[in-house]
Structure formats: C-alpha cells, structure tokens
C-alpha cells in the first residue's frame, strides 16, 4: 500500500479528484498539480498521489490553438459540480517524445477542472475535427 495515499485525502486542499479516473487509468482518482520550471500558467504537471510513477504534462490548449472550443455537456458540468462553463478550466495532455518536434497534445480528450470543487474529469469529445495526437509543431 502506498504510504502517500494513506495520508492524503480529498480533504487536502491541493488534491484534485477524478471520480472516474483517466482513460486507461480508471483506478487513479487523486492527483495534485505540479509546477513546471519555466512553464508558468501554460504547462503544469498532473501527478498521481496513488501511483507516484504516473504523471502527465498538461498544457493550456488555447495558447497553441486559439480557436479550440470543446463542447462541454450539462452532464460534464454536473459531474464537476460546476454552475457554468466559466467555472471550468480546460487543459490537454501533452505527449513529449524524445524528438521534441514530434510533441503532440490530445485535443480529442481534454481534461476539465473545476478549481472551486477540485473535481476533474477527462472527456472524449464527439467532434472528429479534434485529434487525439495533434502536433504542436508543423511537420
């Protein structure tokens, strides 16, 4: 049993709860946000409390894709206990392979955060325009 998990709960103000986990990681529900050196508000780390070797690099998508506007459903808002889209922060998972020029973001399955309730979820959009592996740099 992971010692960290025993001492951290959702009562901890820094812990974010993914009630459904993430796709491929349905059992991991508790995460904290880590800063990235030089990343400012654009890049963050999403670090699993329950499995320390699991972490994701996140990015604010509109910095790279200003017109990115995922459809957030009533059900998503309800699950996040968000009153409206204004309460929701949208971030995307970044995959950084060894060749940085090949870096991609997942625009098809963004992460929705409610910073007020510390609830979050990953959703898969119906919009086929958005790619699971969207290049950040032109090839």
């Amino acid at each position: 049993m992971n010692e960290t998990a025993a001492t951290v709960s959702t009562a901890d103000a820094n812990v974010i709860e993914f009630e459904s986990g993430l796709f491929g990681f349905p059992h991991l529900k508790l995460f904290i946000i880590g800063e990235v050196p030089g990343g400012g508000d654009i890049f963050k780390q999403l670090l699993s409390v329950e499995q320390p070797d699991v972490g994701f690099t996140l990015a604010m998508p509109n910095v790279f894709f200003p017109d990115y506007l995922p459809a957030v459903s009533e059900e998503d808002l309800k699950a996040l206990e968000a009153g409206s889209l204004d309460d929701v922060v949208i971030m995307v998972i970044v995959t950084v392979p060894r060749a940085v020029k090949e870096a991609t973001v997942n625009l098809r399955a963004p992460l929705l955060f409610n910073p007020y309730t510390r609830k979050a979820r990953q959703v898969i959009l119906a919009d086929e325009r958005y790619a699971v592996r969207q290049r950040l740099f032109k090839g």
Binding site: L22, F23, G24, F25, V36, P37, G38, G39, G40, D41, I42, F43, Q45, L47, P52, D53, V54, G55, F56, T57, A59, M60, N62, V63, F64, F65, P66, D67, L69, S73, E74, E75, K78, A79, V89, I90, I93, V94, T95, V96, V100, K101, A103, T104, N106, R108, A109, P115, Q122, V123, I124, V132, R133, L136, F137, K138
Partner: protein
C-alpha cells in the same frame, strides 16, 4: 463476452436504461455494414471503440513523470506555431482563467 444474434429492427437491453437496436443491415460477409441506434442516459458515454482505444493508448504513452519540459516546447508557448488564425477574443477569455 455475451454473444447474441439480432435481426434487423431487433434490440438488446443493457441494465434498465440502455438499448441498442439494429437499424439497418447492408452487404454481406466482410463488407457487411450495420447501423446501430443507441438509447442511453446522457451521463453514459457512448463511443466507437477505436476512438476509446486511441485515447487509452495516448494516455498510457503520455503517463510518465517528466521533470522538465524541453526548452523548445516552452519557447513554442511564447511564439506558438498555431495552425489556425489567432482569435484574440477567445484567447483573452481563456487566458484570464487560472
């Protein structure tokens, strides 16, 4: 896996409130195409499996604790190589959120 055979216009019920109905059958053998209608509560996600699998694969590949973002990626955030034309109104609204 539970295996059922259905004909055109026949349905399968899952739980109390998910229904899958065969709406159309066309072609035969490997070329056969079926159209399914799915009724499910709004909170239930319904997806083509390929998309789901692709997201799981992308998540698994991305899931590694990276101590630092490569400098080129940080630089791109300052001067992004965005494919679409900038929409300053959207950007201002999104940029204000923390």
């Amino acid at each position: 896996m539970l295996v059922l055979t259905r004909r055109l216009n026949e349905s399968i019920i899952i739980g109390d409130n998910i229904e899958i109905k065969v709406l159309m059958v066309r072609g035969s053998g490997d070329q056969a195409v079926i159209r399914l209608g799915i009724s499910a509560p709004k909170q239930v996600t319904v997806l083509r499996k390929e998309v789901y699998d692709e997201v799981v694969a992308a998540n698994r590949q991305a899931a590694q604790v990276t101590p630092a973002i490569p400098a080129e990626l940080l630089a791109a955030a300052v001067m992004p190589a965005a494919e679409e034309a900038p929409n300053t109104k959207t950007q201002a609204k999104r940029g204000a959120r923390k």
